[in-house]
Symmetry: C2
Subunit: 335 residues, 2 copies
């Protein structure tokens, strides 16, 4: 009857009970004591928005990232989709396909990242599944949000002559990834760190999206995940219109501006790179004062970068040299 020198590793049920069940504070999650979550209609504040985004280690994030940062990012890329639709975060289903490298200590840190995200965005774990894989760590999140006000901001409602707006700064996703991989331009260390941090920990524009939906002034909206030009293209094609944007109006961070100053080719990379997780939306010119006010109230930079056009020929970009180029396919990625 001697005790083993180390406690045996926890099995799936033990890991879930210790690290994930405390995160499942929504009544419908029932503390993960059942296989399912129940969302009672009487408790829902509005129609339900459902989004799924999956990430694979080495494909969508760098394999050496800290577990807490991986958790934060997996949730934030989903929150970004909810934000672009004007939905208030409610909860999420989490699928973890864990590689043997993800031991109990890893899971503890990962759960810490989930916890800090939940505290920041006011939502919680509803349920999910945890499996083992011989392949890379894979995380799939299905996120739920509730709509209020005028309903869901879809991609396809833009009208001719509507303004095109974007939140925050564009290009730090692509620039930050290049810097994190050691293949970026030589930048001031503070600027470089800011861009890398924006790539690692995108800032979903949840309060902006909710405010736009409640005000009912955005005609179309999408988040910038595939790249600014590609996601603008989704709005243009769903609205059966074209779009012309002015490259000089696209907001770049200090790091982005420094990169372009060093090498002009960076401009297209910033405009077409992915992972910015900003919101692009359209609205009539009459809404400009309201949009500026919403930006101030939600503490979110908003910039007007162009307008919708009648010709359904994709996204045209006007460059500082006066040239106009059609980039309708830029940014499309093969997965």
């Amino acid at each position: 009857m001697t005790s083993p020198p180390h406690p045996p590793p926890l099995d799936e049920f033990g890991l879930i009970a210790r690290y994930l069940a405390p995160l499942a504070v929504h009544p419908g999650a029932d503390g993960l004591r059942d296989d399912v979550a129940v969302l009672a209609l009487a408790d829902l504040a509005g129609d339900l928005v459902v989004n799924t985004d999956a990430v694979v280690a080495g494909v969508h994030f760098l394999t050496h990232e800290q577990p807490a940062a991986i958790a934060e990012r997996a949730l934030r890329v989903n929150l970004s989709d909810l934000a672009a639709k004007g939905a208030k975060p409610l909860g999420y289903q989490l699928t973890l396909a864990l590689n043997p490298a993800q031991d109990e200590a890893w899971i503890a840190e990962f759960a810490g990242g989930l916890r800090s995200n939940q505290d920041a965005f006011g939502w919680s774990l509803l349920g999910g599944d945890t499996v083992r894989t011989p392949g890379p760590l894979t995380i799939s999140v299905t996120a739920f949000g509730t709509l209020s006000g005028k309903g869901c901001l879809r991609r396809g409602g833009a009208q001719v002559d509507d303004d095109v707006w974007v939140s925050g700064w564009i290009g730090d996703g692509a620039l930050g990834l290049a810097l994190a991989q050691g293949i970026g331009p030589a930048l001031d260390p503070v600027q470089a760190a800011a861009a890398e941090s924006k790539f690692r920990l995108p800032l979903p524009r949840v309060t902006l999206g909710i405010a736009l939906a409640e005000a009912g002034i955005a005609t179309a909206s999408a988040d910038v995940s595939d790249g600014l030009i590609a996601d603008l293209g989704h709005i243009a094609s769903a609205s059966r219109l074209g779009m012309e944007i002015d490259a000089a109006l696209v907001p770049l961070s200090d790091a982005g501006r420094a990169a372009v100053a060093q090498d002009g080719e960076w401009l297209d990379r910033l405009l077409s790179g992915g992972d910015d997780y900003e919101v692009v939306f359209t609205a009539p010119a009459s809404a400009r004062p309201d949009i500026v006010a919403i930006g101030l109230r939600t503490n979110t930079p908003v910039h007007r970068i162009g307008a919708m056009t009648a010709s359904a020929d994709g996204v045209r970009v006007r460059y500082p040299d006066g040239s106009l180029r059609c980039l309708s396919r830029t940014g499309y990625r093969h997965f």
Copy 2:
């Protein structure tokens, strides 16, 4: 201006548009034209049950399975959870992490499997995400069902002296897997094929679950995915009670009975093996006539195999030789 001899491979958007969008017939899916699905409260027949189950090639299914069968099985294991909760299938979010081996032809066949499942169970694709992985094919499904009648059948409501019931036949999941791997017992080919088919294509007990929930007579319910003994253990522990079942009353298929006749050790393997996707539930003795009637009406075999006990000491099994063994931990798996 010569045409290439073969069309270029479709990118993510092309594959989704061609093979998945036609499956997204629910109005809230908007034909997958947006990143999100919207479930309008006014359209929901009752509270929403949400379940996620993920499968990994080589871990949860054999790598050489046909694409359509992989699709069917990934959906059916989720439908089984909805069934055990008494929920009517509504729709599902699908995450596909595709290996390079999954080419366009594979995806076309996979989509065919989704289609036949949708036709059989009356639900449809709502949305999801498709990514590439260097690891094994991984599929995560988040399934939605709606509750009617008396609400969700939870795990934790069993009462002392309640009967314990099980649908269908137990053990064909484990036996079918062994046979598919070529390590099963030597059986009559017809019996062996039936067990293997049950492993490949489990039959979720959707109509039984809905009927039990509508009648409001089951006090607790779960599906048999981890193994009969383990899933009975979940009901017992969630209900803070014990359970005694009679091994001789557990329904076995012809193949299962033949396996046990050849080698008595198969009995424990059938009782504790996983992947049966039957429903186990508890109900007071007064409900016996109603349960038998529901079984007949839904064309689902139902068998009474034991009863709940006051002592919270797991699941005891009475064997044909009269011995009583406590198997409360049997069937727990390390993922």
